[in-house]
């Protein structure tokens, strides 16, 4: 084997490139236009008479913000018209990549406004925007932490599909340790270590034994799913009180910051998990793009041979990064049990690890992008619960599908071609 065999081919995605560029060219504008037409002809025409009301403060808040009332049907029409305008601009004007992303954000925002107006039209209950955003942020914690784990692994050149397994084992371990010892903090630490344990398996097989990483991740997920279900059936069910009744972290409101109207309750009135997410986000963003560690991590993910040539220990660094990143996903898993629900249940992560993976790709392998995408997915779930409390004629099962449909739409159409780290998924063989 010569060195040339081990260099990743220059154009890795030759095979993945679709030949039809006309299809790609029209995909985003047409999708936008469909959104606009839905807003006008489905939401606008079917909206009940009356206003939609939006509330911006929670009960008993120190500083209150007045409610906003919008005429529902008219708002839908305006949103639809604006969306069609964006579609036309996207179709006929040459937009840069930054403006294209702004266009996506605008279209999504307008659609959400139109949808909420349609749902709340003529009702006396207001849509509480603060509750909606607060719920979004809290529900997205596992997805955000999982996506951050994925970013670190991918940037190091390792595909991590085992995020789902890391979350699940983290949830299980946190619940069990917390129940046995009665200590929330010990539960949190052990949950994080459990995520790291899955990462150790991933690292040994992917980096050490060079197993195909996509397949490996899926097998690890099946293993953890089976293992936690088995241990749940075998131990937690008969000893529910001693092994599966953990406490949960209580909400800690940050003084002063927590009293800011709208922003305070959304960002600074939550459990420790949200604050840990901020720390992880800031740490990974700064770490990846402003430190020596980050430069080296990106180097081993893009071109490990070049990195090795200048003396970076590629294999050791991949091991370290993957295992350390596992801690983050483990904390995300612990949120399921000691952060929100309390007791562990089989398969309680219900695919959020996979959504985290999609969020990472949608977020273009950047920490902030991944967090943004994770929040979008969390928002659709939250939207579903609001819509069902407003008694909209949409079936809850159909609404529950939306995060997954959004993921497919996002991956297929709006996001365009995402280019991952060049050496991602390719094991490194030292010459």
């Amino acid at each position: 084997m010569t060195i040339a065999d081990r260099v990743p081919p220059v154009d890795l995605d030759l095979a993945a490139r679709p030949p039809s560029s006309a299809f790609r060219r029209w995909l985003a504008p047409v999708t936008f236009a469909v959104f606009g037409l839905v807003e006008i002809f489905v939401l606008g025409l079917n909206a009940h008479h009356g206003d939609a009301t939006f509330a911006f403060s929670q009960p008993f808040a120190k500083v209150t913000v007045p409610n906003l009332s919008l005429p529902a049907a008219v708002t839908c029409y305006v949103c639809g018209a604006l969306t069609l305008l964006v579609a036309a601009v996207r179709a006929f004007l040459p937009l840069g990549p930054a403006l294209r992303r702004v266009a996506i954000a605008v279209v999504i925002f307008l659609f959400i406004v139109a949808l909420l107006c349609w749902a709340d039209a003529g009702l006396t209950t207001a849509v509480n925007v603060v509750n909606l955003l607060q719920g979004t942020l809290n529900d997205s914690i596992p997805i955000m932490l999982g996506a951050l784990t994925g970013v670190v692994c991918s940037r190091s050149g390792v595909i991590n599909i085992a995020i789902e397994g890391q979350l699940l084992l983290g949830a299980f371990t946190a619940a069990m340790v917390c129940s046995v010892t009665g200590s929330l903090w010990l539960g949190l630490v052990c949950g994080a270590l459990a995520g790291s344990l899955v990462a150790v398996l991933l690292a040994i097989f992917a980096i050490g034994y060079r197993v195909d990483q996509v397949i490996l991740g899926v097998v690890l997920n099946i293993l953890i799913l089976g293992l936690t279900t088995y241990l749940y059936d075998d131990l937690m069910v008969p000893y529910q009180n001693t092994l599966n009744s953990p406490n949960t972290f209580s909400v800690f409101k940050i003084p002063l910051l927590g009293d800011i109207p709208i922003l305070g309750p959304v960002f600074f009135d939550a459990t420790i998990f949200l604050y840990l997410t901020y720390i992880a986000l800031a740490g990974i963003q700064v770490g990846l793009f402003s430190t020596r560690w980050g430069l080296r991590t990106r180097a081993i993910g893009e071109h490990p041979i070049a990195a090795d040539t200048v003396g970076i220990p590629v294999i050791a660094m991949r091991y370290r990064n993957v295992i350390a990143a596992g801690l983050i996903a483990g904390i995300g898993g612990a949120y399921f049990t000691i952060g929100s629900v309390g007791a562990f249940g089989p398969n309680m992560t219900s695919g959020e690890g996979y959504i985290a993976l999609a969020a990472m790709i949608f977020g273009r392998y950047t920490p902030f992008g991944a967090i943004g995408a994770a929040l979008l997915f969390g928002f659709t779930t939250q939207l579903q619960s609001i819509m069902s409390t407003l008694n909209t004629p949409i079936q809850s099962n159909l609404l529950l599908m939306t995060p997954y449909i959004v993921t497919i739409i996002v991956l297929a159409g709006l996001v365009g071609k995402v280019r991952g780290p060049r050496a991602e998924g390719i094991p490194y063989v030292k010459a």
């Binding site: 084997m1 010569t2 065999d5 081919p9 154009d11 995605d13 030759l14 095979a15 993945a16 490139r17 679709p18 039809s20 299809f23 790609r24 595909i159 599909i161 097989f205 034994y209 060079r210 197993v211 195909d212 990483q213 996509v214 397949i215 899926v218 097998v219 690890l220 099946i222 293993l223 799913l225 089976g226 279900t229 088995y230 241990l231 059936d233 075998d234 131990l235 089989p346 695919g351 993976l357 999609a358 790709i361 079936q395 099962n397 159909l398 529950l400 599908m401 997954y404 449909i405 993921t407 497919i408 991956l411 297929a412 159409g413 991952g420 050496a423 991602e424 998924g425 390719i426 094991p427």
Partner: protein, 438 residues
Amino acid sequence: MSDQASSSGPAAAAKKEDEQEPHASFGQSLRDSILEGHTVTIIILAIFTGFVVGGLLNAFTNTTVLHAWGNFFSAPGHAIAAAWDTAVGAYVAMFEGSIFNPHTVAALFQQASFATAVHDGYLSAVFNPLSETCVQATPLILAGLAVALPYQAGLFNIGAEGQLIGGMILATYLGYGVSLPFFVHVVVCVIGGFVGGAAIGWLVGELKARTGAHEVVVTIMMNYIMIYFLAYLLSFGYLMQAPHTSNEITSPIAGDAHLPLLFGSHLRINAGFLIALACAAGIWWLLNRTTTGFEFRSIGKNPSAARVAGMNVERNWVLVMLIAGGLAGLSGATVIQGTDFTLNFQSYGTYGITAITVALLGLGRPLGVVLAGLLFGALDAGAPLMQAATGTPVSMVQVLQAVIVLFVAAPPLIRTMYRLRATRAGGVGEVMSKGWNG
């Protein structure tokens, strides 16, 4: 080694397929795959290791055993004996539930006359475990093929679950919604199952071909979409829920649409098993005897080279996902028409997930999938008796399956554990895997 650099596999043994004679007969390739010493050795050792790990897990989480370990210093022998009894007892019960139970033979010979014993079902009872193994293996083989076929074309189809649900929905609807004469009805429902799954598979392939959306993420999302879609169809009297009930279940399919039983009414083994074997043979023929199959395998090895050679990579992606989806849909149809007869929210079970392990254990080859399907079918068939006899939860089987596949996926690990030497230069299992873009 350099030709392996661009392709991928859970075990490098799958690669050797291209080294075999281009015109080998089915019998010969069967003999080859048995005689391929190191591959088979590693798989057998992986299965053995998996069972050992499963037994240890079982022994050290069982509560009576844990209690015995608590008294380890007063009665050390007792603790070890309890651990051994638990682990072995579970496997014995599993064997009796899936292959052969001596008690049934004893019961057969205690009857007054052989003729009445046969009439009363004592003979069937002897063969019942094997029949159950085949019943469990049927959907696993079909869904396993749905993962294995795209794998040959370089696609990893995790969406067997969603495609299976698609097939179940259409097969069930045709089963109770239309009335047709006996044979026609069975065929129409089976074809309906194929179409239902193929539609989902086609969508995934089309998205991959046209937009480059990675099939792994898309198929995972499709699984969840189909699960919620099924829940939607079954709930609130909408669309498919049986009339006059609040349960989330459809009406039973017509008797005409049942797959015929193969060995009398006492055994559940049905024509679905023959469909599964026929499909495995068909896929083997498709892969090894047709231009389409050649294109699939070429694209699996190196899509760029296949494109340069004039093959339409995108069209083949769509086609292979369509066939795979259809196979998964067939798998759903055999469950509905062979054993369940109604569709409820538990019908899809874990077939879709187990299918991935079946395909990987079978090294992505049709014959391997049949054997792996039978093994995992046997585990599934034996699990209920194991739980009844020893109290070990059924979910133990899922751990076993995943551990076995994890070992199969890493031949160097097994080789290190058992101090085997690599049989060929370069070493089997030095798999160069691919990234998202491959």
